[in-house]
């Protein structure tokens, strides 16, 4: 048996059990899981957990990667301070 307490999203400390519950509640893609659990909402923006979440969705929903809509990519590519973005600092 898998450990339901295993952390999948490290930034937001979301467990496997919480992700499985989100899928049970109706999540059908990475964005649906994210909105329900915050997986992928932390400082790395899913760069470590998105593939894991996708893998769990594929397995639970019996889908292929091509069936799953990816979470939309949004700027910034890496965290940037308000100071640099707002033009006050370099």
């Amino acid at each position: 048996m898998e450990d339901k307490d295993m952390i999948i999203c490290r930034c937001e400390e979301v467990t496997l059990g919480e992700i499985l519950q989100a899928i049970k509640d109706g999540a059908r893609d990475v964005t649906g899981v994210k909105r329900r659990t915050r997986a992928g909402m932390g400082s790395c923006q899913g760069s470590s957990c998105e593939r894991l979440v996708e893998g769990i969705l594929r397995r639970e929903l019996k889908k292929t990667q091509a069936d799953l809509k990816p979470d939309p990519a949004r700027p910034p590519v890496m965290p940037i301070t308000f100071g640099v973005l707002g033009g006050d600092q370099d």
């Binding site: 937001e12 509640d25 109706g26 059908r28 909105r35 329900r36 915050r38 909402m41 932390g42 400082s43 923006q45 949004r74 700027p75 910034p76 965290p79 940037i80 301070t81 308000f82 100071g83 973005l85 707002g86 033009g87 006050d88 600092q89």
Partner: protein, 342 residues
């Protein structure tokens, strides 16, 4: 929030919704991260102070919990705001929740009470009977017979309206948001620049001392702490159709305006930017109304940026309309018929 409402019916509607939120929090078995910490307006100039004072006087006379905060009080209470802020307005009753949790929580509660929710069903058409009343909804997975349809499709409401042959004057008004990393508490509650009121309602008799870009994109600082120690920074306005891409010009403008009010943010990270579409109605009032010419067809859309705040009262009023009860608030101001040309 009632903070950004015009005195009178606009505020009354939002206030009733706030009361309903409390009932919902008790009724549903889902954490929507509801907090009632109030909100604050920041005042930059004597001219804003004067406008704010009049606004508060009027709202207090109508019985709403608002008050002015002088320079000392506001800086003691919110120590990270810029030194030159001369005062503020506190709106004690304003609250916040996680909007996505709110949607999921309400959906799950509805299911528990017997509602059947069909996700991933595309609505293709709405059929009317020989008298012109609603008969059925046609989806890509079958037809559903019904006597009542509520069009609550937000910015897409006009497309659903076309299915029954009516024109709904709602347009998408884009807004962009910066998401900050989880960090120290920069502010205790929702903090908004007073100029936001002017940006929202497009008041022309007042001009802020801001760069042309800030003016052009309707940028006004809105700070919203989340229950996960992040915060969000808005707000912007643009009519760009259904485009939800963010733009670097607006991201820069939002950051510039955020630092102006919170210099401490210079060293805090932005981890994400996103854009969304507000369903904008030309007179800034939503449409919460039956459609006379199509019996059984109702509209609950066009709330611009108030969809979450006004959600509970909208649901209540629409349910009263459908069941033929008397609505608990006057609804003429939100009628669909107000757009008919005389």
């Amino acid at each position: 929030m009632i903070a950004d409402k015009q005195p009178g019916f606009d505020t009354q509607l939002a206030y009733r919704s706030q009361q309903l939120f409390k009932e919902i929090v008790n009724d549903i078995d889902y954490n929507i991260e509801y907090t009632q910490k109030g909100s604050i307006y920041l005042i930059e100039s004597e001219q804003e102070w004067e406008v704010a004072e009049n606004y508060v006087k009027q709202q207090v006379a109508d019985g709403f919990p608002m008050r002015m905060m002088d320079r000392k009080e506001i800086h003691d209470d919110e120590p990270h705001i810029a030194d030159d802020i001369i005062g503020g307005v506190e709106i004690e009753c304003d609250a916040a929740c996680d909007p996505m949790a709110m949607a999921y929580g309400l959906a799950l509660a509805a299911q528990k009470n017997g509602a059947e929710i069909l996700t991933f069903h595309a609505v293709k058409d709405i059929k009317l009977d020989e008298k012109g009343a609603v008969k059925s909804v046609v989806t890509d997975q079958g037809e559903i017979l019904t006597k009542a349809v509520v069009n609550c499709a937000g910015v897409w409401a006009p497309h659903v309206g076309k299915m029954v042959g009516i024109d709904i004057p709602i347009l998408p008004r884009q807004g962009q948001i910066l998401v900050a990393e989880s960090t120290i508490p920069v502010g205790k509650r929702k903090i908004v620049e007073f100029g936001y009121m002017m940006a929202k309602f497009g008041s022309s008799d007042y001009k802020r001392n801001v760069s042309p870009e800030i003016e052009k994109y309707g940028i006004a600082m809105v700070f919203e702490p989340t229950s996960h120690n992040n915060f969000l920074i808005g707000s912007s306005r643009a009519m760009v159709g259904y485009d939800t891409r963010v733009s670097i010009e607006i991201m820069r403008g939002l950051a510039e305006r955020a630092i102006r009010f919170f210099p401490i943010m210079k060293n805090i990270n932005v981890i994400r930017a996103y854009a969304g579409l507000r369903p904008y109605c030309p007179d800034h009032f939503p449409i919460v109304s039956p459609v006379e010419e199509v019996p059984g067809f109702y509209i609950a859309a066009g709330h611009e940026g108030d969809g979450i705040g006004l959600g509970p009262v909208t649901g209540k009023l629409i349910s009263q309309m459908i069941t033929g009860e008397e609505t608990e608030l006057p609804v003429e101001r939100m009628s669909f018929a107000r757009f008919k040309k005389n």
